[in-house]
């Protein structure tokens, strides 16, 4: 269909975006890849008065790697994350997870910042950034602030972002040597989104779990960290028994979504199975 009429500004600086957001936070929408917003506009489910195209803001683009951290600009596309050799060397999970997102056309347009800010409960990046213990950098009238990824997501399509703020970048602490990450996902056959997606990072020291983090998406109203299961495994070996117990714990402590396609029971089962399979893959 055809969107309702709206004003359009192609932003030339982050400062300009923040000014415009300040003027009419509720009537303004930011567009980057547009893969969620444009269909909503066409169906007239969203009718903003002003659309700010942030696509040309170079300050929100690119991947920077330092000794201590990795910074990913909000406008970095899924394809860029898939193809970045530099990033793959540090954190191959980006390439691996990006390859599971939708299809090449979507990956060429869609951005990691858009995915996180939109907070679709079934999006892939939220689980990954939670497992990476990333911080989300947010720009607003009062400057920049950072929020831990596990605290960023609040509810279905809802984050700690205020209407006058913009997600600027993602900061990931350089993982300790030996830390390995994996993202596993069961795709919805129509949307390609995660029915359940599990991101796990593990560092083993003499066969014992020294560090572990778990991010879960698709299962509940928003992505979250599987803290209890991680705590349980810390200091333990990745024996089959321990893995099963941790997976069961994560599954049983999650309040799962139920919809026409998949019941809460099925999602709880997928959490258990996919967590088990992810940990088994990381145990060898």
């Amino acid at each position: 269909m055809i969107p309702a009429a709206f004003d359009y500004v192609r932003a030339s600086s982050l400062a300009q975006v923040i000014d415009l957001l300040h003027d009419d936070p509720d009537g303004t929408k930011l567009v980057a890849g547009g893969h969620t917003l444009l269909p909503a506009l066409k169906l007239r489910l969203a009718s903003p008065a002003l659309l700010i195209d942030i696509g040309s803001l170079t300050e929100l683009k690119g991947i920077e790697i330092s000794e201590t951290s990795i910074k990913i600009g909000a406008l970095t596309t899924h394809t860029e994350l898939l193809a970045s050799e530099l990033l793959s060397k540090e954190l191959p999970v980006f390439s691996q997870a990006a390859s599971l997102i939708a299809d090449p056309q979507v990956r060429n347009r869609g951005t990691i910042g858009g995915s996180l800010a939109n907070a679709d409960p079934a999006a892939d990046w939220p689980a990954v950034v939670v497992a990476l213990q990333a911080e989300i950098e947010i720009a607003g009238t009062n400057g920049l602030r950072r929020v831990a990824a596990k605290d960023f997501f609040v509810d279905i399509f809802s984050t700690v972002l205020e209407p006058n703020e913009i997600l600027a970048s993602i900061h990931i602490p350089q993982p300790k040597a030996g830390m390995r990450f994996i993202y596993r996902k069961i795709r919805h056959p129509a949307s390609g989104f995660a029915v359940v997606g599990i991101a796990v990072g593990v560092r083993l020291q003499q066969g014992v779990v020294a560090d572990i983090s778990i991010g879960v998406t698709g299962a509940a109203s928003h992505a979250f960290a599987g803290q209890q299961a991680a705590d349980f495994l810390t200091g333990r070996t990745l024996s089959r028994q321990n893995i099963d117990q941790a997976a069961k714990l994560l599954s049983e402590t999650t309040e799962c979504l139920s919809d026409r396609y998949a019941s809460a029971e099925y999602r709880a089962n997928l959490i258990r199975i996919e967590t088990t399979r992810a940990l088994l893959a990381l145990s060898s």
């Binding site: 055809i2 309702a4 009429a5 066409k42 069961i186 998949a262 019941s263 099925y266 199975i273």
Partner: protein, 790 residues
């Protein structure tokens, strides 16, 4: 006589002649039609499944910018419509269907009002300004509830919501059931589908300066659309030109008469300007016909050795809110006539009820009724094998119709006759290609280690190219069974063929050229095919029911023969010999055994047009038109085999192998034939594993309103398909071809279901309804596990 010089194209895997244009983005679709002064129509659709329309307030929309016309149903009442079906099974009660709803809406998506504006954006803006006051009524979406006492009534003239009752009977089922060792029953659901085309529906109607009207429409049946639009809008048929340009898929959905097909022509004449409408994807889901939507109750009587004695079927066909174009024929003639499949079941008793509900109208979708019929036969015979713990292949082999029994009338039917076939041959070829025994043992060996693999088998046969014309009257089908072709040779000897068939991606330009080239004995490059313009093509019925090669191809074949016959007469005059002495091959008329110099086809063509030396009684020109009405219908058949692995922990099905062996008679082009099988199997796998239209049973809201919810298969969902063929030529037409388009979508659903059930057999699971989604499979496994542990 073996003529080594003869041109032979039939049987050659030629690449599609039309692809260069389509692949280079130079195809021309309805949406590419942009005319000066063209206006745009948008439609306001009902948000309710069932409601009274109390009032429609158009005032704000009428004064919106760019708006030229706003109408509700009342303003059109008596001017155009009603929409009447083209196939009405005798005895059917036909609901009144206005073009635009007047006082009541009966499904979410029904047209309530429309806007014509200067731009599409203005039309959509104005649609948002229309206010409709509805009084919501109870809605029913399920066919079983619709016919129960609690089902709300949709139409005053359709008591109990049943439009049609159709029965088929052969032998004595009750007697067979008494004599059987066992009788088992099963209830299967044939899931409702959306026939998803890459190109949604679109239409442009344009008044011409001479008072005629041109309608551009993505139509599988351009001449039928001309007749229907003419009759329903009130335009003399000869003043209406229907042009179907390139089409991005049809699958049955583009062969019906929709409200927009009538609104654009009417409004174009009212406003004296071209009017365009195109359908968005979400609009398509709630306004273009759906497919399938059956519930079948089956009873099968058999002996302990697996011999089937009798079959009893009760079908409920959910056809949505009104009887769409062919809707009363699908669940009836097209389904239960074919309920015995490839098996010799003499005692058969079937009844079909056609049921209206508050849902999108249901009509033809690739196979129309035959997938449902094959699903009945196949699920039944597989259930017998499973029940008796006999090999699924052996039980089929035991019950197959034998090669010597063709032509075969199942259960003594007057309406069904399978012209030819060799099911045993198909089966042998399929088993060998598939390594059936090897896979069976592999399944057994892996089960102990918790790997659940299964083999699925399905056989099918059906009938293609509904004909002959006189027989269609009996079933209430208001059209003929013929197809027309005009072969027009120009003065250089090149051919333009005007065919009443209508390609929607099948590759007719290539396949019809191959047929003509073999008869005309001229290079394929010298043949052009014209379809899809009622001002150029003399007449036709179009493309559906896998009829285009058997009927459309035969009409090209016969008219090409007439060209050669006439050319031979002209050549005889030129060579001053008897016509009988002339031999024609590779574009040359020669007189074997003499030193008379041959005369070429192009020279004869030239002579036909200059007319200088024509034999007495031969008129100038080389141009022949044929209306070919077949004497019977061809019956393709096939065996499909699938090998799957089911992850019992997630319910995910991995298709490891798929082998299709099909007998579609003479293969005109093996490459196109394999393509047809691939496409059909992909859609059949999708029905079995992924696709399902869902309605909210409480309020009739369509829950699969977009491709975010409705799972159309993608490359990752479809395995490599190994397509093999067996050629048993059909005796019903001069080419020996049977029809292929629907084969894959008929065979694949039962084949896939059987494979998954076979994989799940260690859990004791004997039945699942499509689509076999991972959550559904997992739930069944869980239930079986819980049951076993209790």
């Amino acid at each position: 006589m073996n003529d080594t010089t003869a041109i032979r194209h039939i049987g050659q895997p030629l690449r599609r002649r039309e692809d260069i244009k389509l692949l280079a983005g130079r195809g021309r679709y309805v949406d590419d039609v942009r005319l000066p002064g063209m206006l745009h129509m948008a439609v306001l659709r009902s948000p309710h499944a069932h409601a009274e329309i109390r009032s429609v307030d158009l005032s704000a929309a009428k004064v919106a910018p760019g708006v030229r016309l706003v109408l509700s149903g009342k303003a059109l009442d008596g001017k155009i419509g009603p929409i009447v079906p083209n196939w009405i099974i005798p005895g059917s009660k036909v609901p009144f269907r206005p073009v635009v709803a007047t006082d009541r809406v009966r499904f979410v998506g029904e047209c309530v009002a429309l806007v014509v504006a200067e731009t599409l954006a203005q039309a959509y803006d104005a649609i948002g300004l229309i206010n409709v006051d509805y009084a919501v009524l109870p809605a029913v979406t399920d066919e079983e509830i619709a016919i129960s006492d609690s089902g709300p009534q949709l139409h005053d003239n359709v008591p109990g919501n049943i439009t049609t009752i159709y029965k088929v009977r052969g032998g004595d089922y009750q007697k067979a059931a008494r004599e059987a060792d066992q009788v088992i029953g099963l209830r299967v659901v044939n899931n409702r589908l959306i026939p998803t085309c890459m190109e949604t529906r679109a239409i442009v109607a344009s008044p011409e300066p001479d008072g005629t009207l041109t309608v551009y429409i993505g139509s599988q049946v351009p001449h039928m659309h001309r007749r229907w639009i003419a009759e329903t809008v009130g335009i003399p048929e000869h003043q209406l030109r229907v042009v179907a340009p390139d089409i991005g898929g049809g699958f049955g959905a583009k062969m019906h008469l929709y409200p927009e097909d009538l609104l654009c022509p009417y409004l174009a004449r009212e406003l004296d300007a071209p009017v365009k409408w195109w359908e968005s994807r979400s609009e398509s889901h709630q306004s273009t016909s759906h497919g399938r939507a059956h519930t079948e109750n089956i009873e099968i009587a058999f002996k302990n050795d697996g011999t089937i004695l009798g079959l009893k079927v009760a079908t409920l066909g959910n056809v949505g809110a009104y009887l769409s174009n062919m809707a009363s024929g699908g669940p009836t003639v097209n389904t239960i006539n074919f309920g015995t499949g490839t098996y010799k079941i003499d005692n058969y008793e079937a009844i079909s009820r056609v049921v209206v509900t508050n849902t999108v109208p249901v009509d033809a979708y690739r196979g129309y009724g035959r997938p449902e019929g094959a699903y009945i036969a196949e699920r039944a015979i597989d259930a017998v094998a499973r029940h008796l713990k006999l090999d699924q292949v052996q039980v089929r082999r035991r019950n197959f119709v034998q090669p010597a029994e063709f032509p075969y009338r199942p259960y003594g039917s007057m309406g069904v006759m399978y012209d030819s076939g060799n099911y045993q041959g198909l089966l042998d070829k399929a088993l060998a290609a598939f390594d059936y025994d090897g896979r069976r043992s592999e399944c057994e060996a892996l089960r102990s280690s918790g790997i659940y693999r299964g083999v699925g088998v399905a056989a099918y046969t059906h009938m293609c190219g509904m004909a002959p014309s006189r027989r269609l009257a009996v079933s209430g089908f208001d059209r003929g069974g013929w197809e027309s072709a005009r072969v027009s040779i120009d003065s250089s000897g090149r051919a333009t063929i005007y065919s009443g068939s209508m390609s929607q991606g099948q590759g007719h330009i290539t396949s019809l050229s191959q047929i003509a080239a073999d008869v005309l004995q001229i290079p394929i490059e010298n043949i052009d095919i014209v379809q899809g313009d009622t001002r150029q093509v003399q007449a036709g019925h179009g493309t559906f029911n896998s009829r285009s090669m058997a009927v459309g191809g035969s009409s090209v074949h016969v008219s090409s023969q007439r060209i050669v016959a006439k050319a031979k007469k002209i050549a005889a005059g030129m060579l001053e010999v008897d016509e009988e002495d002339i031999s024609y091959s590779a574009g040359a008329f020669s007189v074997p055994g003499t030193d008379i110099a041959p005369v070429t086809f192009s020279t004869v063509a030239r002579m036909a047009y200059v007319g200088h030396k024509l034999p007495d009684g031969i008129a100038p020109g080389l141009d022949e038109t044929v209306f070919y009405d077949p004497t019977g219908m061809g019956s393709p058949s096939g065996i499909h085999l699938a090998y799957v692995e089911v992850d019992a922990e997630t319910g995910i099905v991995d298709i490891l192998d798929y082998v299709a062996v099909d007998d579609v008679g003479t293969l005109i082009n093996p490459l196109l034939a394999a393509g047809q099988i691939h496409g059909g199997v992909a859609q059949g796998i999708a029905q079995a594993l992924y696709e399902e239209v869902s309605y909210d049973p409480d309020n009739g809201q369509l829950l699969t309103g977009s491709l975010l919810d409705y799972a159309v298969p993608r490359a990752e969902h479809v395995p490599n398909i190994r397509s093999l063929f067996q050629e048993t030529p059909s005796p019903t037409n001069p080419i020996g071809v049977k029809g292929i388009g629907e084969s894959g979508s008929i065979a694949a659903p039962p084949c896939m279901v059987h494979a998954v059930l076979d994989a799940l057999s260690p859990f004791g699971i004997t039945h699942l309804d499509m689509p076999l989604t991972p959550p559904r499979i997992w739930a069944a496994v869980q239930k079986a596990r819980t049951g076993a542990s209790q």
